[in-house]
């Protein structure tokens, strides 16, 4: 790839990171750093952590960040590297950079406003056409609406036939292009660590932010029921076993603190993908200093 182009992308990347930090400073957030080497990540069906000795590299700083909320911090953010095995493609790197921010005494709706403000804040760094796109109001769509509009099936049937992910990836996501878009209210089965909606327990208070048809961020109102969380982790491990994957260790210390988590919301934002979109690059390779193949 054109090395001048890549150098320019790295310069833009630095400006974007600086601008992100400034945004959070302006909003009174505390920047934190949490350990990258953990005894346990949150066990998930389809995310395989990279083992390092008897520990694991983090797949997300989520668990430590929530423990910080338990200690009384109210607005925190972190930009750190995450590792996920066997994830490599145009929009995936096995080691990537994630921005996560958390607010206590808030729910996921506050995070939607944060996303709007953050995109607007970053827009001036791009070329005019891209800037216009990122400055525009984010539209919202529920997962149910998305399935009935583009999915040619219902969420219920897709979950039954195990085609939910495929339909999202092949039929729904490619249409989410016209403006930055928030896809919200995922079925409870796809809720992971999210709290369920009080009035609609079949739905989780979870949303994903899309721009240019690409998934940029995953956000939710945090589940703070340790029993329910442990049950979900066990269920995830069961699915892993049926897929021929290893059972993952339970994050016990996180679970023991979880009951003290105030109502909170958190979001995980892909920095490499954000830089790719703001730079107008074709894939992640063009916006990182080194791809794994170059090492």
């Amino acid at each position: 790839m054109n090395s001048a182009k890549r150098s320019n992308n790295l310069k833009l990347r630095a400006k974007i990171l600086q601008s992100i930090r400034m945004f959070f400073q302006q909003h009174d957030f505390l920047e934190v750093e949490t350990p990258l080497l953990l005894a346990a990540n949150a066990p998930e069906e389809y995310i395989n952590p990279v083992a390092a000795g008897s520990h694991y590299l983090q797949t997300s700083p989520e668990l430590c960040m929530k423990r910080l909320l338990c200690r009384g911090h109210e607005r925190i953010f972190q930009i750190s590297h995450c590792w996920r095995q066997s994830e490599r493609g145009r929009h995936h790197l096995p080691e990537f950079t994630m921005l996560e921010w958390y607010r206590s005494n808030c729910d996921y709706r506050q995070l939607m406003e944060d996303c709007q403000e953050l995109l607007n804040h970053l827009a001036p760094l791009c070329s005019p056409a891209t800037a216009e796109y990122f400055a525009s109001p984010i539209t919202t769509l529920t997962v149910h609406e998305a399935f009935s509009r583009y999915g040619e099936t219902t969420v219920h049937d897709a979950l039954l036939n195990d085609t939910f992910d495929e339909i999202m990836a092949t039929r729904i996501e490619p249409t989410l292009i016209r403006t930055p878009l928030i896809l919200m209210d995922y079925p409870a089965e796809k809720g992971a660590l999210a709290r369920l909606k009080q009035d609609q327990p079949a739905c989780a208070e979870r949303f994903e932010l899309y721009a240019g048809g690409i998934e940029l961020a995953n956000a939710f109102s945090e589940l703070n029921d340790p029993e329910e969380q442990r049950r979900r982790f066990d269920a995830a491990n069961q699915v892993r076993l049926t897929q021929g994957e290893q059972r993952l260790p339970m994050p016990d210390k996180f679970l023991s603190e979880l009951a003290t988590l105030p109502p909170s919301a958190g979001i995980a934002f892909g920095i490499d993908r954000l830089v790719m979109l703001l730079a107008g690059a074709a894939n992640l390779d063009e916006v990182v200093a080194f791809t794994p193949e170059e090492l």
Partner: protein, 187 residues
């Protein structure tokens, strides 16, 4: 057996009993969801294109393709016959499977034939072949019309553009990758 981790452009696999070439590949993983391996596959015999999405754990049989050096013998109608000089085995290929190769075939030309089992499905020629010009307009010395090339028909019936100084009966080298005149063969 190939796994989804082996999928990439250019991989050749067997699907539904036919050899397929992976022409496009994309790794997709929706947030918190399963990894999906999306491919476009081209049937190497009839050219049909398929869109297929695979999941972790799926496997693929490699396509049993073999490339063998053979000699071009002759053509009958739209059938082109090649012979393996080691085994004297003959294979026949249809004109439509030949692509541009048919423009450059001279008796006894050594080529690489791509076989799927017993069936010849493709042929690769050497990058350059020498063919004699059968017909072309003579070069008028002193012609200042400014034309830098003229049409010529070579012995296979193929027509291409050649420099104005090339005469009928001359041997020229053609680049089979582009179909263009490369150089005049001296002597």
């Amino acid at each position: 057996m190939y796994t989804v981790a082996d999928l990439k452009k250019g991989l050749k696999v067997t699907l539904d009993g036919a050899p397929y070439l992976v022409t496009a590949f994309d790794f997709v993983k929706p947030g918190k969801g399963q990894a999906l391996y999306r491919t476009k596959m081209k049937n190497m015999i009839n050219g049909t294109i398929l869109d297929r999405t695979y999941r972790s754990g799926e496997t693929f049989e490699p396509a049993s393709l073999e490339e063998r050096q053979m000699e071009y013998l002759y053509k009958e109608g739209t059938h082109y016959t090649f012979m393996d000089q080691q085994t004297y085995e003959q294979v026949v290929m249809e004109e439509e499977a030949m692509g541009d190769a048919k423009n450059y075939l001279l008796e006894n030309l050594k080529v690489d034939v791509l076989l799927y089992g017993e069936k010849a499905i493709g042929v690769s020629l050497p990058n350059f072949v020498n063919l004699r010009v059968q017909q072309t307009d003579p070069w008028a010395k002193g012609d200042t019309s400014g034309n830098d090339s003229k049409p010529a028909t070579v012995e296979t019936g193929y027509v291409l553009r050649v420099p104005p100084f090339i005469e009928e009966g001359e041997l020229i080298t053609i680049d089979t990758r582009t179909g263009e005149y490369s150089t005049r063969v001296k002597g």
